[in-house]
């Protein structure tokens, strides 16, 4: 799948391009609005990631121009403005979705996946790590056949760690995912959630699922 990234800040652009490539997208980067418009109009891309603030052209104008020319390629807009009315304006102009700067790469990736035209893999709604199961459809968690009762936040954190099983997630990344960066707990709330999860998931089982990586964060692995 080919993605066109139109972003005037080269560092941001490079990070986005490289991140997308690591997730097996073909990404191309342009930093100029007019050049971007020329490339985007060609219809050679499956998705356009567009920074709304470009040197030679207003991003909103560009979205309108593309839609007026009949380009139907999905457009994901990057904006530094988080005002509600601005987002509404972007969507009205013809953008399909937006991400507010500064965004987490995972968030961008999730939107790109959602807008991507590639046929959706039929993803198993049940996440499995060893004998631990989490059903994202029914929000049920089971281990070795027994149901585990979780509060909403406990569920969110466990789902995040299971989705990235085997990869260490830092406290900040976990806080950010389960709350958002507007939330500054001032105390290590993640440790509390992990302790609770340990009690519910691991107690009574010889094999521990939730592991601490000292000073860094946590990982779920079988």
């Amino acid at each position: 799948m080919k993605v066109l990234v139109i972003e005037d800040d080269r560092t941001v652009g490079r990070h986005v391009k490289r991140g997308l490539e690591e997730h097996h997208y073909q990404a191309e980067l342009v930093d100029d609005g007019l050049e971007g418009l020329r490339l985007a109009s060609g219809g050679r891309y499956d998705l356009i990631v567009l920074d709304l603030r470009l040197p030679s052209m207003n991003g909103l104008e560009m979205v309108r121009t593309l839609r007026d020319r009949g380009t139907t390629t999905p457009i994901l807009v990057l904006t530094a403005q988080d005002a509600v009315d601005f987002k509404v304006e972007a969507l009205r102009a013809g953008a399909d979705d937006y991400v507010t700067k500064p965004f987490a790469f995972e968030e961008l990736l999730a939107r790109v996946e959602a807008l991507g035209r590639r046929p959706k893999e039929i993803r198993d709604p049940v996440l499995r790590v060893g004998d631990l199961e989490l059903d994202t459809a029914t929000r049920e968690v089971r281990r070795a056949g027994g149901t585990i009762d979780l509060t909403p936040k406990e569920y969110t954190v466990l789902e995040y760690l299971m989705r990235h099983a085997g990869r260490v997630k830092s406290r900040t990344l976990i806080t950010e995912y389960a709350w958002d960066y507007h939330f500054d707990p001032g105390t290590n709330i993640v440790d509390v959630v992990i302790n609770r999860l340990r009690k519910k998931v691991d107690s009574g089982h010889a094999r521990k699922m939730v592991h601490t990586v000292r000073g860094v964060g946590y990982v779920v692995k079988g």
Partner: protein, 491 residues
């Protein structure tokens, strides 16, 4: 507005009242003066007639005074004619002795008669008029005295007088009608004045209404309609329009500033973020490095939070942060926050309780903002409550509003600090900086207050040092507000 109208009416009525009184007084005095003149003319005429009669009689008869012993009097044949005069009439000889009296003059007492003849003794000119005060019942009289010169050596003078009661107190009729008419005129003019003031102030009211509609900060491009009359109102409208144009320019530059600042501040944060994140998820990075990367990410988040709070407040000052209102059950938001509060409390050894109604409390609110507000309040409560204390969340519903209270048994806020806690960057203890044991941006409560007010509500705080603090947010139901047509923010 009403006060200016009332003041104008009052001044108008007072001015008119003074005019009416002055005019009435002048009219009254003038009328009195002219009736005095008329009276003097009449008396003068009668005196002239008496003088004429006496002179003619003397010419014909040669002698008109008869002496009976010591008493001297006018010849009865002549005095009979004078007796018929209805006013007081006195004829005296050159020594001032009375020679004849009219019928009415005879009714006077000796004292009054003495008083009445006094002016004849001291005539400084041949003819003289004046006012005398006699005893009751005659009272004040107007007299006319003159020397009689052609009626022989014995006749000295003649005086005619009549009651001046009619003129002394002036034309009572006039006075009465003035006392009756003046209040009516004043009441009428007050009503007309009130109406006139209202009419002339109506354009001002119109301008005020228009300015009010414009000054919400989002309609600054609008201008007042300038009346073509070219009078004070059109000058006022022109002046206000000039001011609006200047305001619009400064708001525009503020708007541009916040947009530019958003971009200029957030792009470097974005670069930092993506870099740190990539390093953080890169396999094979040693744990020590990961730890400092995570700290960097936390700082980036804090910085981002600070930038966004500042921009939000800047836009709020400008009146330009619309809310994404949607119908939500406040109980869901509260449960969610209560769960987080419970976790925060567990970390620092606090008990967290929550109480809410059994039925849904559904209102049009901005979910993210309300949650941000409540998280700010509970984070603060947890931060300032020592281990073993309690933090309580409470939701109450009334007909027209919902109230959310966050109560703690913490260190409390000093009374002197209470008025400042919602100020931007305000801290109770200046030494408690970002690196202290209770860090924060210093914008949390300012944002919290803004969120409550943006929802049409209010936030109040009561606190007792050492005992605890209660923050109460009142969110009114606003019938006119419906959920904005906005794609939900999935952040």
């Amino acid at each position: 507005m009403t006060t200016i109208r009332r003041r104008l009416t009052t001044w108008y009525t007072v001015a008119l009242g003074v005019t009416v009184v002055a005019f009435g007084t002048l009219l009254y005095l003038e009328r009195r003066q002219s009736s005095l003149r008329e009276l003097d003319q009449r008396l003068g005429l009668e005196a002239d007639l008496a003088d004429h009669w006496l002179s003619e009689s003397y010419n014909v008869l040669g002698r008109i005074v008869a002496t009976q012993g010591l008493n001297r009097a006018l010849d009865p044949g002549i005095s009979a004619y004078l007796e018929a005069v209805r006013d007081y009439l006195v004829v005296v000889d050159t020594t001032g002795q009375v020679l004849a009296l009219s019928e009415s003059a005879r009714t006077l007492t000796a004292v009054d008669l003495e008083l009445l003849t006094a002016p004849l003794d001291s005539l400084r000119s041949p003819r003289e008029s004046g006012t005398l005060r006699l005893g009751a019942p005659a009272g004040a009289v107007r007299y006319f005295a003159m020397r009689v010169e052609k009626a022989g050596p014995e006749i000295g003078g003649v005086l005619v007088a009549t009651s001046a009661r009619q003129v002394a107190f002036g034309p009572t009729e006039l006075l009465r009608s003035m006392l009756f008419i003046a209040p009516m005129v004043l009441i009428g003019s007050a009503l007309i004045g009130y109406w006139l003031a209202g009419t002339s102030l109506r354009p001002v009211q119109g301008i005020m209404d228009e300015v009010e509609a414009i000054s919400d900060g989002r309609s600054l491009h609008r201008r007042l309609a300038v009346p073509i009359s070219g009078d004070e109102m059109s000058r006022l409208a022109l002046t206000v329009n000039g001011m609006l144009a200047r305001l619009e320019r400064s708001f525009d530059s503020l708007h541009r500033f916040t947009a530019d600042a958003s971009h200029e501040l957030k792009t470097p944060l974005q670069v930092l973020r993506l870099g740190v994140e990539r390093a953080l998820v890169h396999p094979g990075v040693p744990p020590e490095i990961l730890e400092s990367l995570d700290e960097t990410l936390a700082q980036v988040n804090e910085m981002t939070e600070l930038v966004e709070s500042l921009l939000t407040l800047a836009r709020a000052d400008e009146g330009g942060v619309p809310l994404a209102l949607e119908q939500h059950d406040l109980r869901d938001i509260l449960s969610d926050v209560a769960e987080t509060a419970g976790m925060l409390g567990e970390a620092t050894g606090l008990r967290v309780t929550s109480a809410m109604p059994d039925s849904p409390v559904t209102m049009a609110v901005d979910l993210h903002r309300i949650r941000e507000m409540l998280l700010n309040l509970v984070t603060n409560a947890v931060k300032y409550t020592p281990p073993g204390g309690t933090v309580g969340l409470e939701l109450d519903e009334a007909d027209d509003a919902a109230t959310i209270s966050v109560r703690d048994t913490g260190i409390g806020i000093a009374p002197g600090d209470l008025p400042h806690i919602f100020d931007r960057f305000w801290r109770a203890d200046p030494a408690r900086s970002r690196t202290g044991e209770r860090p924060g941006t210093g914008l949390g409560l300012a944002i919290t207050k803004w969120i409550a007010e943006a929802h049409g509500g209010s936030i109040t705080v009561t606190s007792r040092p050492g005992r605890g603090t209660v923050f109460s947010v009142r969110l009114p139901r606003r019938p006119g507000v419906s959920a904005l047509d906005v794609a939900p923010d999935r952040r």
